[in-house]
Symmetry: none
Subunit: 207 residues, 2 copies
């Protein structure tokens, strides 16, 4: 009675909820096997095609991996295929891109601020090394650079959200700032200049 009254939620959406719940209660880990489609259909009281629509959604998001003749498994790693296909479709919508870019920058800025007090000289050196590597594009550098920062932020949720959005946008267009930006940021860390981060991003927004 709860949900599907007013909204007439589709079956496969309910299936998604139930599968997630199943994953919770069974404490499934990445790589574990899900029940077969037929079994799920019977257990959850739905048609197999509805189950498949739900699984297709999860597969699309890179949450599961299906192997014909074997079964369906929880993904061990992040599937990029999803993101690529997605990007090939969507990203003409300019407002989406703008929102994404803006949000992305907010997350990066705040992560940079979160780790500020934690950063040691060693951390700063490490970032420096990343920046100096010549065998990668600026876009790659950006990814490695911030991935490190987010890891040190010690906020898994923030990190996940960032990674998701980043991959989302990065497949369509490279993401990076002027090289000087990264150098200045490192400089701020080195000179213990917290407030500079906000200003640094403020300048970035102007361009």
């Amino acid at each position: 009675m709860a949900v599907s009254m007013s909204h007439k939620q589709k079956v496969y959406q309910g299936i998604l909820q139930k599968i997630r719940h199943y994953m919770d209660t069974q404490h499934l880990q990445p790589g574990d096997k899900l029940p077969s489609e037929r079994e799920l259909a019977q257990t959850l009281g739905a048609g197999r095609s509805s189950i498949r629509e739900a699984l297709r959604a999860m597969e699309f998001l890179g949450l599961i991996e299906t192997r014909r003749g074997e079964g369906t498994f929880l993904s061990t790693y992040q599937s990029f295929q999803t993101v690529e296909l997605l990007a090939s479709f969507i990203l003409r919508e300019s407002k989406t891109r703008i929102d994404l870019a803006e949000t992305l920058r907010i997350l990066e800025k705040e992560a940079a601020k979160l780790v500020f007090s934690k950063f040691t000289e060693q951390d700063v050196n490490y970032l420096q090394v990343i920046l100096c590597k010549q065998d990668q594009t600026l876009e790659e550098t950006h990814a490695v650079f911030f991935r490190y920062i987010f890891e040190r932020s010690n906020n898994r949720l923030l990190t996940k959200v960032w990674r998701l959005m980043y991959e989302f946008l990065a497949t369509a267009e490279g993401i990076s700032y002027p090289r000087g930006f990264y150098e200045e940021l490192i400089q701020l860390y080195a000179t213990n200049h917290y407030d500079g981060i906000e200003l640094l991003y403020l300048e970035l927004a102007k361009k």
Copy 2:
């Protein structure tokens, strides 16, 4: 011969390509109608269930909108259903309430800053009214207060992410700050004191 030869590509993935091609050649605009599922099945030489799996994927990406009894239409606006679904799975793991609360605060702070330059006297008055209402708890006030700010931020993605996290956390524990916090924030808007936002949140974190 076309699709399933070498890569064992699934039918629905081929369908996606074809539909996109169709959209291109027919110069479909947002809001336009797609052929019916049955017609697509016949035209593209596939079963209706495969067509549906493809459409389901597109629906996730917010590309199309299906209306029972009417048909399938290209989305007029970009929805973030993908993000929503993914978030529900991600949040499932990130049980760390601390991460959530931290991220939530970051989003709110940045939204507050985003709307700063846009805010008129009228907006400030409206927030004042929200705050003065006595018939609701502080938690409810918090929700209404920031919902308004996020709406004015003009960043749908940011708003979506916030709402998701907020609802997720709010069900577990009430979320609110001291009443004085909101008053001070309004005061900052009224006195055109941008930098104060950062400081205000800094104080909040200390407690």
